[in-house]
Symmetry: C2
Subunit: 260 residues, 2 copies
């Protein structure tokens, strides 16, 4: 009954994250935005399938945005929205969509009020932060006021983690999630090579559950975390029980954790 | 005299980093390998121009490797070299290069000796870690022995940071760096919007120095770090002095740091 199968199959909503900034590629800044965005989206049933880190070069941004927005349901960008000469993301996104860019009246108003309140000067450079591509919708930034924006399926956010995070909260209502991915983690002090074959068999028998094996070294101790992910919680629980039984068979007592 | 210009122009060597692993895209693991690799390569005159994070899916790995190895001088991958079913990087790289994959005698020997010494069992699953694409050259792993490998301009390393780092040390002799990029950082408690216009002018007058502006918020304090990067140390020093003078003109005393 293909119809029933179609109903039963959970809807998958996909996303990509585009981190824009020379400072991440030079090694100067260690990015924390990707894991934050991925975790946030995961909770509402959106899976990040790809991330890219690219420099502040307009041609590169344009090409990446156009490739990713065609391939995934949503694209989230971070970085390049400030007032300085190296902040070129808004211009690049306008070019990627083939539209103009201009001062957005609401953005100008919000920033004007902000600088009046705080006593800062609303310089020509700061005015740049009120320029949005034509047809873009603002993403509110309660923290430092300069807005992000949405155009089509692309959400454009600041790179500073605190500001990115309030923008992500501001825009979340606009997203349509799919089936939420759930996960279980089972960790034990066992080498992954010891259980690898049996784990491979388990994966073959349960294609509906993604089984990942992550070895770790902490000082002189080592072990393996098995992470299981699925939208079907019953299947997930069954595989978790099998992994626990497998660990015990090899004489180690597993720890369970990280349920989400 | 075009010949002199060609001599004077520093050789730019480029790289991309490909982080392979579902755990980074799910948000479970926050990557630290990119900033480590970028910093390491920077010191020997290799600039990372792009990074990608992709899942453990063979078609995706093959496409990304082939795109990146054609575009950059070097490609560095991390992840997917272990003994479990989700470790498919070696097979994917072999397919990307259109070659077979088989047990590498030296890799088998190294692992066999390792497990004899440590009393571990050299299981069939662990044997998987001795499979290398045809024509690949091993990258030594003094820590846990299972090797990485190089094929063409692609260097394939483990995902566990400690192991990736020893592999990166092992392979560095094989890399040919270009002109080393130097950097200076000047930080001050000033909003970047205040100095943005003048900074833009400075960038226009000194295209040979990359000037990045990075605002920060720490608790209730905020400020801006100006990062200058160039291969020409005299040009770099001149721009640094101008940035310091600019900060002072606006009444703030800058801190200098992060020379490399």
């Amino acid at each position: 009954m293909p119809e029933k199968e179609a109903q039963a199959r959970p809807k998958m909503v996909t996303a990509s994250v585009l981190l824009i900034g020379d400072e991440i590629l030079s090694g100067r800044t260690r990015d924390s935005n990707l894991s934050y965005i991925a975790t946030h989206l995961n909770k509402i049933g959106i899976q990040v399938r790809e991330a890219r880190v690219i420099p502040d070069i307009e041609d590169v941004i344009v090409a990446a945005v156009n490739e990713l927005r065609a391939r995934y349901d949503y694209v989230f960008t971070t970085g390049g929205l400030g007032p300085t000469h190296d902040d070129i993301t808004a211009d690049a996104i306008a070019r990627a969509f083939g539209v103009g860019i201009d001062y957005h009246p609401e953005a100008v108003k919000v920033l004007d009020e902000h600088y009046k309140e705080t006593g800062g000067e609303f310089t020509k450079a700061r005015m740049r932060m009120a320029r949005l591509p034509e047809g873009a919708v603002m993403i509110a930034n309660p923290l430092s006021k300069a807005p992000g924006f949405q155009i089509g399926n692309v959400f454009v956010m600041a790179g500073i983690p605190m500001i990115m995070q309030v923008m992500l909260d501001s825009l979340t209502d606009r997203l349509e999630g799919g089936a939420a991915m759930q996960s279980r983690t089972v960790t034990a002090q066992i080498g992954e090579g010891t259980i690898a074959e049996r784990l491979g068999d388990l994966q073959l028998r349960h294609p509906e559950v993604g089984i990942g094996s992550y070895p770790y070294y902490r000082g002189k101790s080592f072990g393996t975390s098995i992470v299981m992910r699925a939208v079907d919680s019953r299947a997930l629980e069954k595989v978790e029980q099998e992994v626990v039984a497998l660990m015990r068979e090899f004489g180690v007592e597993p720890l369970m954790g990280d349920r989400s």
